[in-house]
C-alpha cells in the first residue's frame, strides 16, 4: 500500500513538472527554441537512423510502383526526358537573363565575371512532419556544411531555403510557403519585389511599384539582394496582376517554375558567389549607379 502511494506521489510530481515545462515552452517560445535546439543535436543523430530506413522503404515503394506497375522503360525514358527538360529550362532561363541584362546597361555585363555558385547535391527524403508548412527534408545536414538560410534550387529554378538543420538532415521551406520571402525581380521591367508563398500553394510577388507595366506572362527571377541566392535564378511566371484602388503597390500571382511536388534531387547553394568579395563589390557598384541615375 505504502509503495503504491509513493508511486502515485511520484507520478503526480512528474505530471506537474512536465505540465509546467509544457506551459513554459508555450509562454517563452524564443527561450525554449534555444533549449530545444541544444537538445535537438544528439536527438537528430538518433532520428537519422530510422529516417534513412524509412526513406529507403519509400524509395523502394515508389520504384516498385513506377518500375513494374507503371512500365519500366516508359518510366526510365520519362525520367531522362524530365531531367533534360529541367536542364534546358535552366539553360534557357540563364540565356534570357543574360540577353535582358546585356540590353539594359553595361554595368550588368559583369554578370559574366560572376563565378558560378558553389552547390551541394542533396536528395529529398521526406515531407514536412506537419500539414501546416510546405517543407521538405533533405539528406544533407551540418556535417556536410549545410547551414540555415542557404538557398535550394534545381537547374530549372528556385525551390526554397533551408530553415533548420541537424547533423545529418535539413529542412527546406518551399517558395510556396506563406512564411517564406525571397527578393525577386521582374525580368522584363526590372521591378523588384518580395516573393512570398500563398495559402493556395502558389507564390505572390508583392510590393511592385504602382506605375510598373508588369503583365501576366512576365518572368520573375531572384534579384541577388539577399544572401541565399545569386542573381538571375528563375522563380516563376506571373499569371495574374492585381492592382486595387487606393493601394500603394501592385501584387501578382506567380506559377513556380519548379514542380515542387515531384522533386527527388536538389542543389543546396553553399556560397551564392564563389568570390564573395567580388560579388559585394559588384552589388555596391550597381547600387552606386542606381543612386547616381
Amino acid at each position: 500500500m505504502a509503495i503504491s502511494r509513493s508511486t502515485y506521489g511520484t507520478r503526480r510530481l512528474a505530471i506537474v513538472l512536465l505540465a509546467c515545462l509544457l506551459i513554459a515552452l508555450f509562454l517563452l517560445p524564443s527561450q525554449s527554441q534555444r533549449l530545444l535546439q541544444y537538445v535537438g543535436g544528439p536527438l537528430g543523430q538518433i532520428l537519422s537512423v530510422p529516417l534513412a530506413a524509412f526513406s529507403s522503404i519509400d524509395q523502394g515503394i515508389s520504384e516498385t510502383w513506377n518500375g513494374y506497375l507503371a512500365l519500366q522503360s516508359v518510366h526510365e525514358e520519362n525520367r531522362q526526358l524530365r531531367r533534360d527538360m529541367e536542364f534546358l529550362k535552366g539553360q534557357n532561363n540563364q540565356l534570357r537573363e543574360s540577353v535582358t541584362a546585356t540590353q539594359r546597361y553595361e554595368a550588368l555585363l559583369n554578370f559574366k565575371q560572376q563565378s558560378p555558385s558553389q552547390t551541394l547535391a542533396a536528395q529529398v527524403i521526406g515531407r514536412d512532419a506537419t500539414n501546416w508548412y510546405r517543407g521538405m527534408i533533405l539528406n544533407k545536414g551540418e556535417n556536410d556544411g549545410v547551414r540555415a538560410e542557404m538557398g535550394v534550387v534545381t537547374p530549372a529554378g528556385v525551390v526554397g531555403r533551408i530553415v533548420k538543420t541537424n547533423s545529418t538532415s535539413s529542412v527546406v521551406l518551399l517558395v510556396t510557403d506563406p512564411n517564406n520571402a525571397i527578393a525577386g525581380v521582374v525580368q522584363r521591367t526590372r521591378d523588384e519585389g518580395i516573393v512570398e508563398g500563398t495559402s493556395h500553394g502558389r507564390a505572390r510577388l508583392k510590393y511592385i511599384p504602382l506605375l510598373s507595366s508588369v503583365q501576366a506572362g512576365d518572368r520573375v527571377v531572384t534579384s541577388g539582394l539577399t544572401g541565399a541566392f545569386p542573381r538571375g535564378l528563375a522563380i516563376g511566371g506571373l499569371t495574374q496582376v492585381e492592382k486595387s484602388e487606393g493601394d500603394l503597390f501592385q501584387s501578382a500571382e506567380i506559377e513556380p517554375e519548379v514542380d515542387l511536388s515531384k522533386l527527388d534531387e536538389v542543389l543546396i547553394i553553399t556560397a551564392p558567389y564563389e568570390d564573395a568579395d567580388a560579388a559585394q563589390k559588384l552589388l555596391q557598384e550597381i547600387h552606386g549607379d542606381r543612386k547616381k541615375s
Binding site: 503504491s4 507520478r11 512528474a14 505530471i15 512536465l18 505540465a19 515545462l21 509544457l22 515552452l25 508555450f26 517560445p29 525554449s32 527554441q33 530545444l36 535546439q37 537538445v39 535537438g40 536527438l43 537528430g44 538518433i46 532520428l47 537512423v49 530510422p50 529516417l51 530506413a53 524509412f54 526513406s55 522503404i57 519509400d58 515503394i61 527524403i125 521526406g126 515531407r127 514536412d128 512532419a129 506537419t130 500539414n131 501546416w132 508548412y133 510546405r134 517543407g135 527534408i137 530553415v163 533548420k164 541537424n166 538532415s169 529542412v171 527546406v172 521551406l173 510557403d177 506563406p178 512564411n179 495559402s199 500553394g201
Partner: protein, 166 residues
C-alpha cells in the same frame, strides 16, 4: 522501460509520418500520427504516459518540420495530457467517444498552429479551418478509432491488469 518503449515508438512514428504517409493524404492533408499516438496512449494509459509520449513525438516532429521548435512539443504534449485527463474521467471507453475526443484535441492542436502562423485576416483563418483543420480532425479521429479497434483487446487487458495492481 516504458520510457524506452515510448522512445522507440516515437522513433518509428515520426520518420514514418515524414516519408511514407504522403501516400495516404486526403486533399493534400495527412493524418497527424504523432498526435493520434499521444492521444491514444493518453486516453488509455493516463496523463503522464500521454504527456511523455507527446513530448517525445513533438520534439522529433519539430526537428523535421519547418515550424518553430516549440510548437509540436506543446501541441503533442498538451494533446496527450488532455487525452489522459479525459480518459481518467470516463468509465467506459467506446470508439465513438474516442473518435469525438480525438477530433476535438486535433482541432485544438490545429488552432495553436493557426495562431502561430499569424494569419492576415479572418479569410485566411477560415481558409485554414476549411482546408486543413477540419480535414485533419476527421482524418485523425478515423485513424485513431481504427487503431483503437485494432488493438482494443490488448489494451483492455493491460488496463485491467494495471487497475488490479493499484
Amino acid at each position: 522501460m516504458k520510457f524506452l518503449i515510448y522512445l522507440l515508438l516515437a522513433l518509428v512514428v515520426v520518420p514514418f509520418q515524414t516519408t511514407l504517409l504522403h501516400y495516404v493524404s486526403l486533399f493534400g492533408v495527412r493524418p497527424d500520427l504523432g498526435l493520434v499516438a499521444a492521444c491514444l496512449v493518453g486516453f488509455l494509459g493516463g496523463e503522464l504516459d500521454g504527456l511523455i509520449l507527446g513530448l517525445l513525438l513533438g520534439c522529433f516532429q519539430d526537428m523535421l518540420s519547418a515550424g518553430d521548435l516549440w510548437i509540436n512539443v506543446v501541441t503533442k504534449g498538451g494533446g496527450g495530457f488532455l487525452a489522459g485527463l479525459a480518459g481518467r474521467h470516463m468509465a467506459h471507453m467506446t470508439p465513438a467517444v474516442l473518435t469525438a475526443g480525438l477530433a476535438i484535441i486535433s482541432c485544438l492542436s490545429s488552432v495553436v498552429f493557426l495562431y502561430s502562423m499569424n494569419p492576415a485576416g479572418i479569410d485566411e483563418v477560415w481558409m485554414g479551418v476549411r482546408s486543413t483543420v477540419l480535414v485533419q480532425a476527421g482524418f485523425d479521429a478515423m485513424v485513431g478509432a481504427g487503431l483503437y479497434l485494432l488493438f482494443r483487446q490488448r489494451w483492455s487487458d493491460d488496463r485491467m491488469v494495471t487497475e488490479g495492481a493499484l
